[in-house]
């Protein structure tokens, strides 16, 4: 079952959320990462995400499968944008359903942290001054 997806265009979170809910669910947690207008003290005009698609999809699926093993949750999903994004656009979404809130919150936090650390996606920021650059944070 596909739980992780790269999206080329804006996506609807209501339908993604609906797919995670059923009669067993007592708690649902989500995280949404948005394109903000600044980073590291610089004014950001927009950004582009590039992915190594084959490996990103494999790694994303592995993270979600791992989360289902580690946490007492019912289901989880993640969608990450690629391509050009404007300020205020949704860049990444994580949703987790569980019987209780503790596991839903914990798994949601773990998934977004793992996605940021492991999935081969790179951010290319354009700045208000006209220059641009890749973000390659050292672990």
């Amino acid at each position: 079952m596909q739980r992780f997806r790269l999206a080329d265009t804006p996506f609807d979170t209501a339908s993604l959320r609906a797919r995670l809910l059923d009669a067993r669910v007592g708690g649902y947690a989500s995280f949404e990462g948005w394109v903000r207008d600044h980073n590291d003290g610089r004014a950001v005009a927009g950004l582009r995400y590039e992915a190594y698609v084959a490996l990103a999809e494999r790694e994303g699926e592995a993270i979600l499968a791992d989360a289902l093993q580690r946490f007492d949750i019912i289901d989880a999903a993640c969608v990450h944008r690629q391509g050009e994004l404007a300020l205020g656009e949704l860049a990444v979404w994580v949703g987790v359903s569980a019987a209780h809130r503790d596991a839903a919150f914990a798994a949601c936090r773990w998934i977004i942290d793992e996605v940021k650390a492991r999935v081969p996606i790179w951010k290319h920021e354009r700045y208000a001054g006209g220059d641009a650059g890749w973000l390659h944070p050292q672990p």
């Binding site: 995400y49 190594y52 084959a54 494999r58 081969p120 790179w122 390659h136």
Partner: protein
């Protein structure tokens, strides 16, 4: 014995290489030797220790042997999310 390998470059590595992919004919025994070769030839800005490496769409180890005909990607530090 030489092997033909497809190499993929992403993000700042692609910008530095000036190409997204290339086919190389290499005598490198493992992935670390392959990176040393292309790093020297293309003047890539990342030391090996800052990168991860993948072979045929799966993360690999630097001391994994090269498989002829495989696709190798050098993965600079990621910044999704």
């Amino acid at each position: 014995m030489s092997a033909k390998i497809d190499v993929l470059y992403f993000a700042a590595l692609r910008d530095a290489a000036g190409i997204a992919s290339e086919q190389v004919d290499t005598e490198a025994a493992d992935l670390a030797e392959l990176y040393a070769e292309v790093q020297a030839r293309l003047q890539l800005p990342f030391p090996q220790r800052q990168l991860r490496v993948a072979m045929d769409g799966e993360f690999a180890r630097w001391d994994d042997a090269l498989r002829a005909g495989s696709t190798v990607a050098f993965i600079p530090p990621v910044s999704g999310g």
